[in-house]
């Protein structure tokens, strides 16, 4: 069944700028729905450096990235935003009445009056190894870049590739689920959590998981679905292993993704905006934060916050062209609730 949501503004991207946009829109009593491809809010701050301090947020001499996200979530609570996480907006349609309909990867439909793209550097997508024909087996045919449901791999023969914490953690977890687990790592040592590396080594010694070091998965084989992979050692020797699933876990990297196909005017993979209100070349669609570009652009959270405030005003005027808007200060009026 299709999940259908109706809101005033759909914010694409749940990073700090997207979250603050909820606040600014909330002050204008606009409802927001936030969509992000990642399973949690916070964007880069949560995904890459939650424990790193940030020093250029006004009023905070230093604040951990993860704490800033938590604070932003607290700040927007009064506005009761709704979220669709772990789904990427694939497509949008502008309807006859000037409103929009968005479609996500998992079939969620969002109806909204305006769109604010706060997509940062784009959606975080799996970093794929350069193995020929890998894409042939994507989409449930044997190549998986993340483990959404471990049960997918129950009693199956799997090969995991990678040397980071994800590869180690899933090797440990799936050793109890899958029929056979092989971890292929290009190096000879793991610099992830020492405890995890030790557990994998013990599983290997106990015959419950196979560890293949100094090697790469270099080829994938099969007809309609994946049937085997070739593992090539650094010394050139190779073996072909029958498998049901191959899981390369090399982290995530940001890509502009489908936003690039929405008919917006772009410049160097960023969305061009009018700094009057951060509107894009398509009326009703705004872009704020690292995803946009304009003369003098600075990719700072601080600047994204400023852009969010102006965007909210612009979106309000787009939605209610006949209503007169009067700027109100929170110190005088407090924070309204929705």
């Amino acid at each position: 069944m299709t999940n259908s949501i109706s809101t005033d503004i759909c914010i694409i991207g749940a990073g700090p700028v997207g979250l603050f946009a909820v606040f600014e829109a909330g002050l204008l009593k606009l409802r927001c729905h936030v969509v992000d491809a990642l399973p949690q809010v916070g964007g880069q701050l949560s995904e890459i450096y939650p424990k790193k301090p940030i020093y250029d947020i006004p009023g905070f001499p230093d604040i951990l990235a993860g704490d800033l996200v938590q604070n932003l979530m607290r700040q927007i609570e009064p506005f009761h935003p709704t979220f669709t996480l772990g789904e990427r907006v694939e497509r949008l349609a502008k309807l006859e009445d000037g409103t929009f309909q968005l479609f996500t990867t998992d079939g969620t439909e969002i109806f909204c009056k305006a769109i604010a793209i706060a997509g940062g550097l784009g959606s975080f997508e799996p970093r794929k190894p350069a193995v020929e024909s890998l894409e042939t087996y994507e989409g449930g045919r044997g190549v998986y870049y993340m483990v959404r449901d471990p049960e997918t791999f129950r009693d199956r023969r799997i090969v995991i590739a990678g040397g980071g914490d994800s590869a180690l953690d899933w090797t440990i977890f799936l050793a109890d689920v899958a029929k056979e687990v092989t971890l292929v790592h290009r190096g000879t040592t793991f610099r992830g959590a020492a405890d995890s590396a030790e557990k994998v080594q013990k599983l290997h010694e106990a015959g419950r998981a196979r560890l293949v070091l100094s090697s790469n998965v270099t080829h994938v084989h099969g007809q309609d679905s994946l049937e085997a992979v070739t593992i090539t050692a650094n010394d050139g020797t190779a073996e072909t292993l029958p498998v049901d699933a191959f899981i390369p876990l090399f982290g995530l990297t940001p890509k502009l993704g489908p936003i690039g196909d929405w008919g917006l005017e772009l410049e160097d993979d960023a969305v061009k905006v009018n700094t009057l209100d951060y509107s894009t070349s398509v009326p009703g669609i705004f872009a704020i934060g690292d995803i946009n570009t304009y003369p003098g652009k600075l990719k700072l959270i601080l600047c994204g916050f400023h852009e969010a405030a102006l965007m909210a005003q612009g979106a309000y005027k787009y939605m209610f062209p006949d209503k007169r808007y009067v700027l109100k200060y929170t110190t005088v009026n407090g924070v309204p609730t929705l």
Partner: protein, 108 residues
């Protein structure tokens, strides 16, 4: 002593572009490459956390050994060569004059 060094980016086999880098601004190679127009995401801003500034050192002066954080990140990437480094972790100093690097692909 000069206050700038020259590093070279191999854009294609045998085709190198010279980049002049100041030594008195505490910049990293990543920052200099980015400022020179190279398409480097450097998502994490230079904390050795994202691997999107991965370069291969092809020639030039000996560099300090990579630290644990840098090695950990490099080892988690799909491709790593003998010369692999995170450009955000290489500080521009006078010793870097003549360094030759190649930008590594970020995967498909």
């Amino acid at each position: 002593m000069t206050d700038e060094v020259r590093i070279y980016v191999e854009e294609a086999p045998g085709q190198r572009r010279e980049v002049v880098a100041p030594t008195d601004m505490a910049l990293s190679v990543m920052e200099v490459l980015k400022a020179s127009g190279y398409d480097i995401q450097a998502t994490c801003g230079g904390m050795a956390l994202c691997g999107t500034c991965h370069v291969e050192v092809l020639a030039g002066p000996a560099l300090d050994e990579p630290g644990d954080d840098e090695l950990a990140m490099l080892e988690s990437l799909p491709v790593m060569t003998q010369g692999s480094r995170l450009s955000c972790q290489i500080r521009i100093t006078n010793r870097l004059d003549g360094l030759v690097v190649r930008l590594m692909p970020q995967g498909t």
